[in-house]
């Protein structure tokens, strides 16, 4: 054989009986396959979610009674600080990156991410950062200045814990910057020929917007944290008022990242929901371009709203008006998405399986968080409820009712692709029911608590709030219980679940056009687009489109921008080799 032929043979993926199955040990080592990294991200972050959840339940247990009787106030403050830090930096943000890792190369027909090793490095920053953070509890000096870590409080509480917190968040920030670079380059450079940006699935658009936002905002947080570390360790006074520093400058730097972080946490799941709803409603997504561009609009606007967290700090009056208006305007692109999802469902043939139920739950609860978000943007009202349980309710409706339900919807939807097996629908529905009940029971009463005058981050409160706090606490216990059916279901189904086949949902995006779980380099040959990502309901398109089928029977529908010529057989590597 000539060298060229050898090269061709070497490029053919090894055909095993069940492609994609690797040794289970592979998941515990340094691996550059984007799918392994994606699952590493998801499993690792889920473990942190459980740890953060236990902390949340400890916090709620303390708040069951008005007195401080369960943990000491210092431990209480550490618990909610770590709870928030873990949930944000170690669960929702990296879980989004986990899905992006698994899905983006598959969705755009690439063999892997643009920088596979960088990808692995980005993941491997997370476990040490998480362990570092949790270790601070063990050394007995956990951070307790809130996840916002405002100076001067963060400078006068425990120095070791605060230092550990800064280090950990810096590591996690670095990880997400590396991830974002990788996603952007992959999306821009590695799409299969013929996939223009308007043929990209909406999840890819969402990750594009998210990554751009991450790249712009995260370095500012890093800068703020490094200055804070100097204040803490070296005795400088950037933010320390005793030396003339300005604590409000920290707030600007912190929120310049941490408000966009909310969009970094929700945009990937807007994308995931935009994938899930059309598949299970059997209808094309309504207003593809509107949804795609609204992600970009949210990403851009997200950068100019940060000071709405500081309406009660010392900022000029006109600045409050500016940030009120920018914050309000974000409701418009968000509204476009929500109405488009509703219109997608309208008139469809909705399969109410667990993934779709979670997607519906996502839309239904996120709306509540979105509406209270608009209220919070109104300066005079925000001045009343800032730093109260109304804000706690709002952010949990967005981050639990939004992001976490989105993560679950995505897990149920892509579980067959990731593992090759179906999840048990019954236990999935039990999980959904418990989650929805627990979620609303925990967070709905908090709106009233905040409006009536319960401030946040307190271990003891006015006894008149006892009843509502009890409801919240029992709701939190239900939420804790709700994860058990999921964990057991996921593990059991992964090992023994019904075989899924390549495309159990009859979806049209590219990730379903390969084996489940996908082989090491994803596709036998470069896929050719035959339909748009959401061409449901078009003639002949509803049977699912196996792209490896040498004779696809497809007609070009009126709405599909780019389709392969149906008469031309797909080239395979084998046929190419035979020709030689």
């Amino acid at each position: 054989m000539t060298q060229a032929q050898l090269q061709e043979t070497a490029n053919i993926p090894a055909l095993s009986e069940e492609p994609g199955i690797r040794k289970w040990q592979d998941y515990f080592g340094f691996n550059t396959d984007h799918k392994v990294i994606g699952i590493q991200y998801l499993v690792t972050t889920f473990i942190f979610y459980c740890i953060g959840g236990v902390m949340a339940d400890l916090v709620r247990t303390e708040l069951r009674t008005p007195e401080v009787d369960f943990v000491t106030p210092e431990v209480y403050n550490s618990l909610f600080t770590l709870h928030a830090t873990i949930m944000i930096f170690l669960w929702i943000v990296p879980a989004g990156a986990g899905f992006a890792n698994f899905l983006i190369p598959l969705m755009i027909g690439a063999k892997d991410m643009a920088f596979p090793r960088l990808n692995a490095v980005a993941f491997w920053m997370i476990p040490p950062a998480g362990l570092l953070l949790i270790a601070s509890l063990v050394v007995g000096d956990a951070p307790d200045a809130g996840w916002t870590s405002y100076p001067p409080l963060s400078l006068v509480t425990g120095q070791v814990g605060e230092g550990i917190w800064i280090m950990s968040v810096l590591l996690l920030g670095t990880s997400s910057i590396l991830g974002a670079i990788n996603f952007l380059v992959t999306l821009l450079k590695m799409r299969i020929p013929g996939m223009g940006v308007h043929q990209m699935p909406l999840f890819c658009w969402a990750m594009f917007a998210t990554s751009a936002l991450t790249l712009v905002s995260t370095p500012v947080l890093a800068a703020g944290l490094i200055l804070l570390a100097f204040d803490l360790i070296a005795g400088t006074t950037f933010f320390n008022p005793t030396g003339g520093g300005d604590p409000v400058v920290y707030q600007h730097m912190f929120w310049f990242y941490s408000h966009p972080a909310v969009y970094i946490m929700i945009l990937p799941f807007f994308g995931a929901i935009s994938e899930i709803i059309p598949v299970h409603s059997r209808k094309p997504i309504f207003g593809y371009k509107a949804i795609a561009y609204s992600s970009l609009a949210i990403s851009f606007l997200g950068l100019i709203v940060w000071a709405h967290h500081m309406f009660t700090s010392g900022i000029p009056g006109w600045l409050r008006m500016f940030f009120m208006i920018t914050t309000m305007i974000i409701a418009v692109p968000t509204g476009i998405k929500i109405f488009s999802w509703l219109a997608t469902m309208w008139g469809g043939k909705i399969r109410l399986n667990t993934a779709m139920l979670f997607a519906i739950g996502f839309v239904g609860t996120f709306v509540i968080g979105g509406i209270s978000g608009v209220m919070l943007a109104a300066v005079p009202f925000d001045i009343h409820v800032h730093d109260t349980y109304f804000v706690v309710a709002h952010l949990h409706y967005v981050l639990f009712g939004g992001s976490v339900l989105g993560i679950y919807a995505a897990i149920y939807h892509w579980f067959p692709k990731m593992t090759g097996r179906m999840v048990n629908e019954f236990w999935g529905k039990v999980h959904f029911a418990l989650t929805i009940v627990g979620l609303n029971m925990t967070f709905l009463p908090m709106h009233k608590l905040g409006l009536m005058g319960m401030n946040r981050r307190i271990a003891q409160y006015d006894p008149k709030f006892t009843f509502l706090n009890e409801i919240c606490t029992y709701g939190a216990y239900i939420l804790a219980v709700s994860t058990f059916p999921f964990i057991i279901n996921a593990i059991w189904s992964w090992l023994y679940g019904e075989k899924a086949g390549n495309n159990p949902w009859r979806a049209l995006t590219l990730e379903w056009m390969t084996t489940s779980p996908p082989a090491i380099e994803n596709f036998d040959q470069t896929p050719v687009l035959a339909t748009g990502p959401y061409d449901y309901g078009l003639e002949n398109a509803n049977e699912g489109v196996p792209l490896s089928d040498p004779n696809p029977v497809l007609s070009a529908g009126p709405n599909s921008v780019l389709r392969a010529d149906p008469d031309e057989p797909y080239p395979t590597i084998e046929s190419e080799l035979e020709k030689r």
Binding site: S281, G287, G314, G347, T388, N542
Partner: protein, 361 residues
Amino acid sequence: MKIPTSIWTLLIGIVLTLASFWYGQNHGLLPAAATDEAVLVDGLFNAMMIVSTGIFLLVEGILIYSAFRYRQRAGDNKDGPPVEGNIPLEILWTAIPAIIVIGISVYSFDVYNEIGGFDPHAIHEAPMMNQESMAMPGSAMAATLSDTPPSTEPNLNQEKSDEAMQDPATAAVRNADQIPQLRNAPGVGSVAPTIGGTPDKAGKPAELQVNVTGLQYAWIFTYPETGITTGEMHVPIGREVQISMTANDVIHAFWVPEFRLKQDAIPGRQSEIRFTPQKAGDYTLICAELCGPYHGAMRAPVVVEPQEAFDKWMQEQLVASKETLNQAIAVNPADLSPNEFLAPYTKDMGIKPEILHQVHH
């Protein structure tokens, strides 16, 4: 007879609107409104509740209706209709939220202006760069060569701080020597209004001045007109009160839920808030910004009472403070251990003494 869809839509629309209006007025979610400002804020909140209830019912209604009405029937494996979009509809649902948020913004702006947050005159009083010197040839280069020259403009934070310190009682509780005042930091009256001088009252001093100092974990009030220091705030009905506050250690936030007003007290800065009490009652001042483990215990009584009762209280305080003046000033809270310092406050706040023993610093 089959009722046409348009009539159904109209009926549902009417019911939805009525339900929203009813709930927006009768939600019962807010505590009593005890100041003129609170009434305005409540009006804004009610308006937002009407809109929010409407949107909530609409979205949840469509969601649940779709999930039931359009669920897949057994054996039906066909796809739904390939509807990809509808430009007029999309323009409509972009325009309506846009109009709603603009409406809420305008209303918020109006309320904010009414409660005195946005005083357009104040901006002109803000210190500008020294334009004459900047216009001189070579000044730009000079600026890079030397350190920033000492500004000849007034240091408004310092002025406000000095003003508050005129009262010896305030000076005793604020450790101004430890935390320098920031120069021209936004947050004070004429540089950038916090919630303060309503346009028609702009420039006029409030009728009653109260200096508030936040420190871990207590509020201390001093009345510069009479020089008294107390742990509880009394204000008379119907007279505009100006609170000028700062913090001695970490950031605190001044919040009385019934007043609907909140302002951070930041070390090194003066900030202010103005309001006119209108409803007698006993309220609680709550620290709303995380300030340490005992943040939840940082509360102080606030009494809104008629003028006569206020004068009577003031007299009592004057007598009491004359007796204990020397002693009161001699005690510097910074020298006390948290235990000693908190002891007088804990009884009111319902904190068990055991908790206090756990305080270590």
